[in-house]
Every structure is written in structure tokens, then in C-alpha cells.
Amino acid sequence: MIQSLCGAFVMVIDDDDDLRETIMEVLQDNAHRVVGACNGQEALDLLHGAKRLPCVILLDLMMPVMNGRQFRVALMNDPELSDIPVVILSAHANIDEVLDDLSVDAKLSKPVEIAPLLALVNQHCSEAEAKEQALTL
């Protein structure tokens, strides 16, 4: 699936099917290409087989198999993937407390509103595109 992608895309990792699909829906409505994964392990498998990397990953924290924290650590330890920006989506009252020293690019607390979500995604996608253009030039 990813292999067929040629433009910039957004990866959404959340074990809640309804929320994941709704986020993907909203992003698609706003002209983003999206890929979903329902836990960290599935996302890692997709990324390892991908030709292109997402311009940003929206990451839930509490998930089965591999949770958000484990996924983030795995990503940082993989030089191929460590540059991908990660935005945390969390239902915790105090995200900072949960994240502790985990390095992330941004965080959104649930319930997520459309405007800040789109703003973050747009920002990261345009940065990624700019980088890509600079490389191809």
C-alpha cells in the first residue's frame, strides 16, 4: 500500500478504529494522503517496507502490542526513521507527565480539535515537501 504512494503522506497510529479512521477522514478531506496503523509494531513494519517516509506521524500512547512510547524509542534508535516528526495524541490529563523525557515534536490532547490538528499536519507536510524539493534540485 505504502509502496504505491508517491507524494507526501501522514501516518496515523491509534488502536481505536473509530478515532483513527475519523482522523484519516478529516485529513483526506483536507487533501492529505494518509496511512493508518493500529499499534506501534504494525507501524514499524509498514515503515520498514516503505519506499517513502511519512512527513509526520500522529501517535497515540496507550496501545496494545507496542505502545506509543516504545514505538517512539524504536524510531529514535533507527537512523533511517529517526528524523520523522512525531506528534503525540493523548487522552491523559497531563501529557507532559506521561511523556516525561520522551522527545516529541508536538502534542495534542484528546479530544483533538480540527484546527490545531490541521495546522500541525500542514506545517510538517510543507516542511517535508520543501526539504524534498531542495534535495531534488
Binding site: D16, E25, D29, E97, K110, P111, E113, I114
Partner: protein, 516 residues
């Protein structure tokens, strides 16, 4: 005469002769040693000079001679005087001497028993003291039993503890103090047997008073032996009334049991509270994910709707649809607020309310809040006004303070519907004060502390809903800023909530954050 010469040499006895009138005729060495007179000093003098003034006044010398004359012999023990005036305890025998059927004189033999007398007196006094001591002891029953267990003596303590007077108990068997069931087991005899065999018996047990009342006693029975031949003379019995001690111990035991039950209850209550907090935290957390999906669905639906041109046949329906979606978003907003408050409360309980401090103008904050609540106030028939002079700057967590003002305003509207509401921002030296005044139902004085508690409310749930968390969270936020929140209120006249914040809460921020 040899016999007379021997008598003369006797030193331990004063032996001398008196004429029929009591005049000293002879004097031996013993008399000299005991009484101190030389023979030449006393021979020819009346023996009455050996008597004390009291005895002389009582006519004792004459009486003694009279008795000796009548009976042939008289014995006397009394104080006599030495030449130097000191007294000695004299044991005296006066024997009448006869010649031709007439009393021709008297033989007087005197022993000095002062030392023995003193020793006896000391013994008597010491026994008297011991007896008085034992008799007067009130805290212990101390009494003697004969070898078979019959009561020989009784003291004040025995009377107090057991209730019998000496006269009614002496001579009785000591088993009278034992309850019948114990007596049947021949327990009293066993006690004496053990005391006889081992010298001592001690126990704690039930005893009877004269009234029949039972009491808890400590009993020590000691065998008493005759020192000279080792024969058993009886038993000394000492009994203490431990009823009070036992009652005190029982009270202690009950008290400590009550304390452990209380502790257990407190633990249970704590655990129940903990379970509730955890449940609230988890529930609020679980609600957020579907709420996210719902919010995004409705927001995106509204966004899609915005792209549809509002013209033609369906324009009215589309317009209504847009209104409904906005309404749905409003409800989602309320739901989100409730969940946030629940999560805040559980964060406060976990002591992890973190502040993000920045430069904030309390005036701007209050103006925004008053503007936000203007519609709600109007709907409730309240005129909402703000009185502010300066920008009232400080370093605070803006979002948290917004929460505090919003809570105070929504309370004022909720409980003061139909009456004016005034918000004031004042600066007092290093402090900024926010005051919210309503003229609503007010709060009873007894409730003014309670309303800042978790899940507390001063009003009946039947009239007013809500989680009962608003003031609890507000107070925690103000506390975290190092400030204070208080209320003054008159029932049926309204309430005034006053929040005071130090301008800089930087030091408190670090405290709060490091406290997790």
C-alpha cells in the same frame, strides 16, 4: 559468818538487810555496784530514798514492807533511783525476817534489769509498730491463718477489701472468701498445701466479698514457721483487689480494639476513595477517545457543509443542519469541560497539578471571561459587570486562572439567577485580587469551608446539578499559585468570592512541579 561474807561479794545482786522500819542495816558489793552508795553513806538511812518521787508520794515503800510483813514475802518490778539520780529497772524481792514470832527486819534482794527491760520495751514497741503498720494498711488485706486455715488476725485493708469486721471473721475458715465452685474443687486447701510445701503460693483469681460480690484478687500466701523449732505456726495471707486494674486493662483492651476497628474502617474508606479516584481517572480517560472521534466528525461535517453553496431548494434545510451541528459542537464542548474537570480533580489528588507560568494581565483575563459569560448571564437574567482600573499584571498560569474565573462566574450565574453580578479586579501592593459578587441564594456559614472540598456542594442535588468539583479545583489552582480563595456569604443575600494571588508565583511553580 562465812555465808554473810559470800553474800557480801555477790556483785549481780544488791543484798542487804532492813530493820522493821526500813532502815538499811547492811550493804554488799552488789548493792554498791547497782545503787552507787558506799556502805558508810547508806547504812542507817531509810530505804525509801531508792524510790522515785511518784512512788514515794504513792506510799510504795510502806506498802511493800506492809505486804512483806503480812505475807512473808513481796516481789516488785519498778523504776528505782541510783545515788546519781538515774533510774534503773529493779526486780525486787523483800522477805520478812522473824525473831521470837516478831518481824525483826527484812532481807532485800534487788536485781538491775534495766538492759533486759529496755530490750523488751524495744521489742514490744517494734512489734506494736509492725502490728499498727499492718493493721493500718488499707490497700492490702493482710491477715494470719493458723496451720489449718482459720483466720487469726485482720487488718483495715482486709476489712475494706473483703467487707468483714475483725470481730465477725476471726476464727472463720479462709475458704469463706472463695466462690462455691472453687471451694468444691478444694482449691483453698491446695493453696495451703503448696504454701506449706514450697513456702509460698501466689495466684490471681476470683474472690468473694462479704456482700457476695466477686472481685479479681492477687493472693500471696506465705508459710510462717516458729524460728526456734521450725514448726509451722500458720500462714500470712496478703490479698490485693485488682478489680480496678483489671477494669482498666479491660478498658484498654476495648479501646485498642476500637482503635484497630477504626483504623480498618479508615483504611477501607481510604481504599474506597482511592478506587473511586482511579475509576474517575480511567473513566475520564476512556471517554476522551470517542469524544475525539465525535468532535472531529462534527467539526469535519460542519467544514464540509461550509463548502456547499447555500442556495436553491435545500438552502433552508442546510442552514438548519449547520445550526444543529453548531449545537452539537456546543454540547461536545460541555462534555469535554466535564471530563477535564474530572481529570483535573484526579490530578490534584495525585498532587500533580502542573502550572505553566507566564506574564498575564488579570484585567485582560477578566474581560475575556466576562465577555464569554455575557450570553449565559443574560439568559439567566443577570447583569454582569466588570470593575477594573489597571492591567493587574502577574506571573501565573493563564489557562488555569481562566478556569478559576469561569468557575466563579458560572457559579454566580447558577446560584444568583435574576440578580446582578459584579466582578472586580484590584491591585493591593504585591497582590492582585479578583472578586466575584452575586446576590443569590448565598451559603450557610456552616458550609463555607466544606464547599471547597471535593464532590461537595452547599445545595441539594435535587435543585442544582454539577460534579461538585469546581471550587475544589479552583482552590487547588489558587493554592498552587501560592494564593488564597475565600468566601463571605449571607444566606438569601448572596456570596462574595475573593481570590488573592501574589504577582509572581514562580517559586510556587517549581514546588508544584517537583512535588510529583
Amino acid at each position: 559468818m562465812q555465808g554473810v561474807a559470800v553474800l557480801h561479794e555477790v556483785r549481780d545482786y544488791a543484798i542487804y538487810m532492813l530493820d522493821p522500819q526500813g532502815v538499811v542495816l547492811t550493804w554488799n558489793n552488789g548493792a554498791r555496784a547497782i545503787k552507787g552508795y558506799l556502805a558508810e553513806e547508806i547504812v542507817g538511812q531509810s530505804f525509801s530514798r531508792f524510790f522515785t518521787a511518784e512512788d514515794l508520794a504513792a506510799g510504795r515503800p510502806e506498802r511493800l514492807l506492809h505486804s512483806a510483813r503480812e505475807q512473808g514475802r513481796v516481789e516488785d518490778q519498778a523504776w528505782r533511783l541510783r545515788k546519781d539520780g538515774t533510774r534503773f529497772w529493779a526486780d525486787v524481792v523483800i522477805t520478812a525476817l522473824h525473831e521470837n514470832g516478831q518481824v525483826s527486819g527484812f532481807l532485800k534482794v534487788t536485781r538491775d534489769l534495766t538492759e533486759r527491760r529496755v530490750a523488751e520495751e524495744m521489742l514490744r514497741q517494734s512489734e506494736e509498730r509492725a502490728r499498727l503498720l499492718i493493721e493500718s494498711v488499707k490497700d492490702y488485706a493482710i491477715f494470719m491463718l493458723d496451720p489449718r486455715g482459720y483466720i487469726l488476725s485482720w487488718n483495715a485493708g482486709a476489712q475494706r477489701i473483703k467487707g468483714y469486721a475483725a470481730a465477725e471473721i476471726i476464727g472463720q475458715h479462709f475458704s469463706i472468701f472463695y466462690p462455691l465452685e472453687v471451694r468444691r474443687l478444694e482449691h483453698p486447701d491446695r493453696e495451703l498445701r503448696i504454701a506449706r510445701e514450697t513456702g509460698r503460693y501466689e495466684e490471681e483469681g476470683i474472690r468473694l466479698r462479704k456482700s457476695g460480690e466477686r472481685f479479681w484478687a492477687n493472693v500471696v500466701i506465705t508459710a510462717v514457721y516458729e524460728p526456734s523449732n521450725g514448726e509451722l505456726r500458720g500462714f500470712a495471707k496478703v490479698t490485693r483487689d485488682l478489680t480496678e486494674r483489671r477494669a482498666a486493662e479491660e478498658a484498654m483492651r476495648l479501646a485498642s480494639e476500637a482503635i484497630s476497628i477504626e483504623r480498618l474502617r479508615a483504611d477501607e474508606a481510604r481504599n474506597a476513595l482511592k478506587a473511586r479516584d482511579e475509576f474517575i481517572s480511567v473513566a475520564a480517560h476512556e471517554l476522551r477517545t470517542p469524544l475525539s472521534a465525535l468532535l472531529l466528525k462534527v467539526e469535519s461535517a460542519r467544514a464540509l457543509l461550509a463548502k456547499v453553496p447555500l442556495s436553491g431548494d435545500g438552502a433552508g434545510a442546510l442552514s438548519k443542519l449547520s445550526d444543529r451541528l453548531n449545537g452539537a459542537l456546543g454540547q461536545i464542548g460541555r462534555l469535554t469541560g466535564l471530563i477535564h474537570r474530572l481529570l483535573d480533580a484526579s490530578a490534584i489528588v495525585r498532587n500533580s497539578l502542573a502550572l505553566r507560568v507566564d506574564a498575564v494581565s488579570m484585567r485582560d483575563l477578566a474581560q475575556r471571561a466576562v465577555a464569554d459569560y455575557q450570553d449565559a448571564a443574560e439568559t439567566a437574567g443577570c447583569v454582569l459587570t466588570l470593575k477594573v482600573q489597571s492591567s493587574a499584571d502577574g506571573y501565573w498560569d493563564e489557562l488555569r486562572l481562566e478556569q478559576v474565573i469561569a468557575n466563579l462566574l458560572s457559579n454566580a450565574i447558577k446560584y444568583g439567577a435574576g440578580k446582578p453580578i459584579e466582578v472586580r479586579v484590584e491591585e493591593v501592593a504585591d497582590t492582585v485580587r479578583l472578586v466575584v459578587i452575586d446576590h443569590g441564594i448565598g451559603i450557610d456559614a456552616s458550609d463555607t469551608d466544606r464547599i471547597f472540598g471535593r464532590f461537595e456542594r452547599a445545595v441539594s442535588l435535587e435543585n442544582y446539578g454539577g460534579l461538585g468539583l469546581g471550587l475544589y479545583i479552583s482552590q487547588s489552582i489558587v493554592d498552587a499559585h501560592g494564593g488564597s480563595i475565600r468566601v463571605s456569604s449571607t444566606p438569601q443575600q448572596g456570596s462574595t468570592f475573593t481570590v488573592e494571588l501574589p504577582r509572581s508565583s514562580a517559586p510556587y511553580t517549581s514546588t508544584v512541579e517537583s512535588s510529583r
